[in-house]
Subunit: 209 residues, 2 copies
């Protein structure tokens, strides 16, 4: 017998649509400029349905943010994947990092969360610890190992991780956050990643003995 009832798969379909719409709108317009009406309209559900699944606007926003923290996970995974010498692996990391960092949707997430940190500090802290900090922490054991092999001279691996990230990020993140028009293309990003890693390697080069 063929059923015309909605399949089991559709369970939780509405909340999913609400989350997707909320993400899109929060990121495009920011928290304050997005209304629950807009979200309901875009998700093609009634407004009361939104409130059925999320207690209020603040909680819906938090749900969106929690999800987006995982955007950093691609980076963390790229760290352990692949082989090659130290420089090749650092360059590969730098390249992925750059890409993710200034992707329009990632910039939108940063903007929106930084904005709401004014009134909801714990939201900002949670994002930082589940996002940027995890990337840094994933670099640490890797750099420590390189130091143990004598390829790097460092006494503070966490600081070294921060420095590597800082050199790769350079002014690109701020420029993107402030909507300064000139952003690098694909080719330039390759070049920037290589240059940043070279400078990092020189700053942390072991003495020539």
């Amino acid at each position: 017998m063929l059923s015309v009832e909605p399949p089991e798969v559709e369970r939780g379909l509405k909340p999913e649509a609400v989350l997707a719409a909320a993400k899109k709108l929060f990121m495009e317009r920011g928290y304050g400029a997005t209304s629950m009406d807009d979200i309901a309209k875009r998700a093609k559900v009634g407004k009361a349905t939104v409130y059925e699944h999320f207690q209020n606007k603040e909680e819906l926003f938090a749900a969106v943010v929690t999800r987006e923290c995982r955007g950093h996970s691609a980076l963390v995974e790229a760290l352990n994947a692949g082989d090659g010498d130290l420089r090749a692996r650092l360059v590969r990391f730098a390249r992925v990092f750059l890409d993710v960092l200034i992707r329009p949707d990632m910039i939108a997430i940063y903007r929106t969360i930084i904005a709401e940190t004014v009134r909801a500090p714990q939201l900002g802290t949670a994002f930082y610890e589940n996002g940027p900090l995890r990337v840094r922490n994933a670099l640490v054991p890797w750099l420590s190992e390189a130091a143990r092999r004598g390829e790097l001279a460092l006494d503070d691996p966490e600081r070294a991780a921060v420095d590597l990230i800082s050199l790769v990020r350079a002014d690109l993140h701020l420029r993107a956050l402030f909507a300064v028009p000139t952003l690098p293309g694909l080719v330039e990003k390759d070049e920037l990643a290589r240059a940043a890693v070279d400078r990092f390697l020189k700053a942390y080069a072991p003495p020539v003995a």
Copy 2:
């Protein structure tokens, strides 16, 4: 004859009070969460008076931002002031830079402008060009000169300026923007400034020949 009329000094006193109140509230609560009523109340003027001097909320916000761009000028001035060798001057710059960067009111400005860049990109761009970019540009001729004297090895002074700033900024700016509790005290800032400059000098050290 003694006049009971308000003295000439009081000309423009109301607009000044409005600007001060607007700055305080915009920075504390963000643009969206601040109402024109709040601003008028805090400035102790009628709401219509606010609209007498500023066409609308957006323009008032822009006026506040324009003023605050000058917060970076202290940095630019600190660059040309004082003497000492290259390292000493770089450390002095780094120390001032760190201080200004994570001062609560500067963080508030960054947060608020980044938030509004979503809907008013030209505002973000203007702030970047009149703030962070000016600091970078002020460093350029100074680093170029050091390179000419053979104290640094660099072919791209702008890139070197960005790297110096990046190493000093490290993760402190992001941590502050996301309200991560642990921020450095006075002593740690001295230490951080010195360490960052040392790493910069090593990354740009001329060949020993």
